[in-house]
């Protein structure tokens, strides 16, 4: 049996309104993909890291990832929070508070993150981190396989870890704006040879948009179908973060944090991790272009 983490029950957060989809996320799981366990973790990892820096946490601390609609939490004890990612109004007991900066919240106060004014995913870090029990080395919710804590529901009580020792803490961190147009670089392979060269070139042109069916598993796109030159089935093979899979309908899917560990549709190329934060913030309808990298 694992012992409960050392948390002060007086210092938790009570979920008042969970928003459309709010999950606990850290940097995700590593070393268990061979068991069929997705990596999970924050979709916009730089934004979670920034929020953690603002409240003095280490990079491994878990925070909350909101989706479009924000979240409302009651602080059961005094806490310091910071909200980053998709820009949104922040209120403490109804009064406007700073976005993208540390905010001291007195015990009993209501912290409200409003609907995102741009982008999709917001991150709320709390000094000490959200201290739900770790599963296979991570506190992240994995929505593909159901590992980790379930998405927040009203009435949930989230434990908060002991506050970090005060140290150098930035007041401001650089936070990129959500993209008006999404450009995803693409390193071709491992299965680019399943597609006509013209189809690869086509991916680099305008005409794609972010589809509404996008989620934590993948950024779905709609646009010109990418046609195969090879038929037949590809035996299931290992999948990576950022892999662009082409399913039979020819509409590219960019694998995000909750992607399956293996898959049987050919991967035409892989989007560098550095470009995935913008993908996590692109709303449905955002114009999208792939930029194939010609190297090696």
């Amino acid at each position: 049996m694992t012992r409960a983490p050392a948390t002060d029950p007086a210092n938790g957060l009570l979920v008042v309104r969970p928003g459309p989809l709010t999950t606990v996320q850290d940097l995700g799981r590593r070393g268990v993909a061979h068991l069929g366990v997705p990596r999970a973790g924050a979709l916009d990892e730089p934004a979670l890291r920034a929020a953690n820096r603002l409240v003095g946490n280490g990079p491994e601390a878990a925070g909350l990832e909101t989706t479009l609609g924000g979240v409302a939490l009651r602080a059961l004890g005094p806490v310091v929070v910071a909200v980053t990612g998709a820009p949104s109004p922040v209120r403490v007991d109804g009064r406007a508070a700073a976005w993208g900066a540390p905010v001291a919240v007195p015990a009993g106060a209501l912290v409200e993150v409003g609907p995102a004014t741009a982008g999709v995913r917001g991150y709320l870090a709390v000094a000490g981190g959200v201290a739900v029990p770790a599963v296979l080395g991570s506190r992240s919710a994995d929505l593909l396989s159901g590992l980790g804590p379930a998405p927040l529901a009203a009435g949930d009580r989230l434990p908060v870890g002991p506050p970090p020792t005060p140290g150098a803490r930035p007041d401001l961190v650089p936070l990129p704006a959500p993209p008006a147009e999404l450009v995803l670089r693409l390193r071709l392979g491992p299965r680019a040879d399943w597609f006509a060269p013209a189809a690869v070139t086509r991916l680099g042109c305008d005409g794609y948009r972010v589809a509404a069916a996008s989620n934590r598993i993948g950024l779905r796109t709609e646009g010109p179908a990418v046609a195969r030159v090879r038929t037949g089935e590809l035996p299931s093979e290992g999948m990576v973060l950022g892999a662009v899979q082409i399913p039979p309908d020819g509409q590219p899917v960019v694998f995000l944090a909750d992607h399956p560990t293996t898959g049987g549709y050919p991967v035409i190329g892989v989007v560098p991790t550095a470009d995935l934060a913008a993908a996590a913030q692109a709303r449905p309808g955002t114009p999208l272009r792939f930029a194939p990298l010609r190297e090696r």
Binding site: V32, E237, G238, V240, G242, T261, T262
Partner: protein, 212 residues
């Protein structure tokens, strides 16, 4: 055993090794795991994931792509590295909803079908679909069966099932299109247990028939 046929670059930090058959996958996977856990892991020390699949081994989160590529090109895994540890016994009640259909596909009685399924020494080739869901090889190719035309919306946890060349055991209730032979009371997947997955890649497995 010969060197891997092809090492393909996947994105910035991953390599995909293509191999001739499942035996070569098992041998390379076992060799990589053993070396990574050993005294001199070298460049494998900074590899986050090693993921076997049907005809490939993926190495993900590779810090030194060139060094690992060179290592893969010179790797000479032997079959001895393919499996590890004692076999896991899966006591199975063979009363699955598709047992009769599978027996018909094989052209044998249900009793003979159970004997056929309990005979081979299986090995977990790879995992996927769900945490702890192993794709087990070992059944002779002539006993391969198609997936069901219409998947079930809920297959109970512990269901022992067949599809294509593989046998699998559902670690938890989920939708599924595999042919159900029976069920086991074993807990296949438990994140509070070490190891969490009973059927991890390289593990040998035997099925035994038990009464309900």
């Amino acid at each position: 055993m010969t060197a891997p046929a092809t090492v393909r670059r996947v994105g910035e930090r991953s390599l995909l090794v293509e191999l001739a058959d499942e035996a070569a996958v098992a041998a390379l996977y076992g060799w990589l795991r053993e070396r990574q856990a050993g005294e001199a892991p070298g460049a494998l020390d900074a590899v986050e994931e090693i993921v076997p699949a049907a005809r490939t081994v993926l190495l993900d989160g590779v810090a030194d792509i060139d060094a690992v590529t060179a290592l893969l090109r010179t790797a000479r895994p032997t079959a001895a590295a393919a499996t590890s540890g004692p076999p896991v016994e899966v006591p199975t009640v063979y009363d699955g909803a598709d047992l009769a259909e599978v027996a018909t596909l094989w052209g044998v009685s249900e009793e003979a079908a159970v004997r056929i399924h309990t005979s081979p020494a299986y090995v977990v080739a790879f995992c996927g679909f769900a945490p702890g869901f192993g794709y087990l090889t070992g059944l002779p190719p002539r006993y391969g069966v198609p997936r069901r035309a219409t998947p079930r919306s809920a297959v109970p946890a512990g269901s022992v099932a067949l599809a294509g060349p593989y046998t699998g055991v559902y670690p938890r209730s989920s939708p599924g299109g595999w042919q159900l032979l029976g069920r086991t009371a074993l807990t296949l997947w438990d994140t509070g247990r070490e190891p969490a997955a009973l059927l991890a890649p390289g593990v040998r497995v035997r099925f035994t028939a038990v009464r309900a």
